[in-house]
């Protein structure tokens, strides 16, 4: 762990933006989006609030080609889009989401398109010094801390910046851009961690119950009446899925070109809140209602995948809660269902 002055921090970032195709949070009208940075002044550092879409779109584009098939011979060739880019100012929630994506995509049958493209993307993270907005629950689900998924990570500490490297690529970046820096003494390190912990204590803390029990509670209260309640108002519009940094479901489609020479197999973001997602031939739908879809989606985040990957699959950014027009959000879901469990509210199958 090293630290540099605030002035040097800005100089380093300026140089990184100059040397690389860099993307970061930029203000557009009233909200922030990830976009190309031309200079450091484009980037929002102090007053960051989560962008409309997470940086997921660079790792895992909204739509991408997977395979091209010759229409006549039916011979298939793979297609992988990749580009050398730097993501600057990625926040802990999104870094955790990237780390989760890395694990999911290399798990079992590795996804070549994601993994190949991932190699070409550099992630430079910024720590959060304050709660970004009222929708966030990162401190509750444990995603305010980062372990993997970044190359370099900057954290403000007494008007200076502490630097952590998270990969070999990060070390190379450190050597290239930072060189002279002050190595933190053990005492300074302890003090930094202490100060950071104090800082996090001032975050939202809107989730009222201990998060560690969540998956067993979700399992026991699978039929909690709250699902019916929010199922009734859910618009089934899919906004929550699209803005989620950890939702990775997709649908595949094929298109022929106009000369009838090539068939391209594409994949596009899809989500379990949408009608056709669990529909099979003959129009049988395995999850016909919003209630069932919400249950499924949140059990994936807080139960099934949490157990599998030993971390919350909701990274607490709050984008879904903000995007939802009927205000369905993870803070209320956690508080209500865990609350019902502790206060002994009966769930459907017990009645």
């Amino acid at each position: 762990m090293h630290k540099i002055s605030s002035e040097k921090f800005h100089k380093v970032l300026e140089q990184i933006i100059k040397d690389n195709e860099t993307y970061g949070a930029v203000k557009k009208r009233d909200e922030y989006i990830y976009d190309r940075l031309e200079t450091l002044s484009d980037l929002e550092i102090e007053n960051y609030v989560p962008t409309v879409l997470p940086p997921k779109k660079y790792f895992y584009p909204q739509e991408e080609d997977l395979v091209q098939i010759d229409y006549k011979t039916k011979k298939a060739n793979r297609v992988i889009f990749k580009k050398e880019i730097v993501l600057l100012g990625v926040r802990p929630c999104d870094i955790n989401a990237i780390s989760l994506f890395d694990r999911i995509m290399s798990d079992g049958n590795p996804d070549p398109n994601y993994l190949e493209r991932r190699k070409h993307i550099t992630v430079i993270g910024f720590d959060c010094v304050k709660s970004c907005w009222e929708h966030a629950l990162c401190e509750a689900v444990g995603t305010i801390n980062v372990k993997e998924g970044y190359d370099l990570f900057f954290s403000e500490y007494k008007k200076e910046y502490v630097i952590k490297t998270g990969s070999k690529k990060g070390e190379e970046l450190f050597d290239r851009y930072i060189k002279n820096s002050h190595k933190l003494s053990e005492k300074e390190r302890d003090d930094y961690h202490h100060e950071r912990a104090e800082r996090i204590k001032k975050f939202n803390h809107k989730v009222k119950y201990l998060f560690q029990d969540v998956s067993s509670i979700f399992e026991k209260h699978y039929d909690d009446p709250y699902w019916k309640e929010i199922g009734k108002i859910c618009l089934m519009c899919g906004s929550c899925v699209m803005v989620c940094p950890t939702c990775y479901c997709f649908t595949m489609d094929e298109e022929v070109d106009l000369k009838l020479q090539t068939v391209t197999r594409k994949r596009k973001w899809d989500g379990c809140m949408l009608r056709d997602f669990a529909m099979v031939a003959g129009n049988h739908n395995f999850r016909p209602t919003a209630e069932m879809r919400l249950k499924h989606r949140w059990n994936r985040k807080f139960n099934y995948l949490l157990k599998k990957y030993h971390m919350s699959n909701c990274v607490g950014c709050g984008r879904c809660g903000f995007a939802c027009l009927v205000k369905i959000n993870p803070i209320d879901i956690l508080n209500t269902i865990m609350g019902n469990y502790y206060s002994g509210v009966k769930h459907e199958s017990e009645k």
């Binding site: 039916k74 298939a76 049958n109 039929d223 031939a281």
Partner: protein, 270 residues
């Protein structure tokens, strides 16, 4: 890295009309193609899309395989319109099939409804080929009407090979001599020592549900009931999320599950 989204070119060698709305397709892939009985494949009609099917042929045949397709949705309808000789794409095989090793020394009951007999036929052919390993093979099959029965001309052959066969239809015609009623009524007609038997079930969702209840009622243990819980498997490799079934992905953890694996899970029967 193996490209999991790239299909293998195959040719449609033959098409068999099984019943109104159901056809079987004999496919010859460009390369040798191995699968375990019960595993499924993704079949592509280039330019239109993919759909998941479980081969209905014997896994001991490595050069060709068959799929039986009911006209039900978009891709399946297109398959019903195509002709012999047309090249298609195949991905797979995916998922876990029937653990036939665990069936050894036991009575194997096969309970099928409608087009659900397709994956069971592959299982049946697997068992028949190693008949000495199993005590008895019993097939209970139900269809809506006699003309809806698939593999019509093959039952005789299976019977000759020692399979005990019981069939029923919901709506008989004048020539129908066998059982009338839903397929579960056949279960009253057989005698098995359920403690030394396994059963494989595949059919429409409603039949799977009541079939399982009936099997439990006559004494089958949840761990001896093997169910084909097919959903809309799309990527086939546990990535796209479409076939998520509670904590499982049908494409990776299934499509064959024991009832024991899923019985505590809510929303099993939908």
């Amino acid at each position: 890295m193996k490209n999991i989204y790239k299909p293998l070119k195959s040719k449609i060698e033959n098409i068999v009309h099984e019943s109104p709305g159901i056809k079987s397709f004999v496919l010859k892939p460009d390369e040798e193609f191995r699968f375990d009985t019960g595993q499924f494949i993704e079949l592509t009609l280039p330019g239109f899309g993919e759909a998941a099917f479980t081969p209905s042929s014997s896994p001991f045949e490595k050069k060709r395989f068959e799929v039986t397709i009911m006209k039900a949705g978009y891709v399946t309808s297109l398959f019903h319109d195509i002709k012999k000789g047309i090249p298609v794409g195949v991905r797979g095989p995916y998922g876990a099939g029937y653990p036939v090793k665990q069936f050894e020394g036991k009575d194997v009951l096969i309970l099928g409804g409608g087009v659900g007999l397709a994956p069971l036929r592959s299982l049946l052919l697997t068992l028949v080929a190693q008949k000495q390993n199993y005590k008895r093979i019993i097939l209970c099959y139900g269809a809506k009407t006699p003309s809806d029965i698939i593999y019509k001309d093959q039952f005789k052959d299976w019977e000759k090979k020692g399979v005990q066969i019981l069939r029923s239809v919901d709506k008989p015609d004048t020539s129908w001599q066998e059982t009338v009623g839903v397929v579960t009524v056949l279960l009253d007609k057989i005698k098995v020592d359920t403690s030394k038997a396994v059963v494989a079930v595949c059919g429409p969702p409603v039949m799977m549900k009541f079939g399982t209840f009936k099997l439990l009622e006559i004494g089958f243990k949840p761990q001896s009931i093997y169910l084909s819980m097919e959903r809309n498997m799309s990527c086939g490799v546990g990535k796209c999320g479409h076939c998520a079934f509670g904590p499982y992905f049908v494409c990776k953890d299934g499509p064959v599950f024991t009832y024991d694996q899923i019985k505590d899970f809510p929303d099993v029967w939908l």
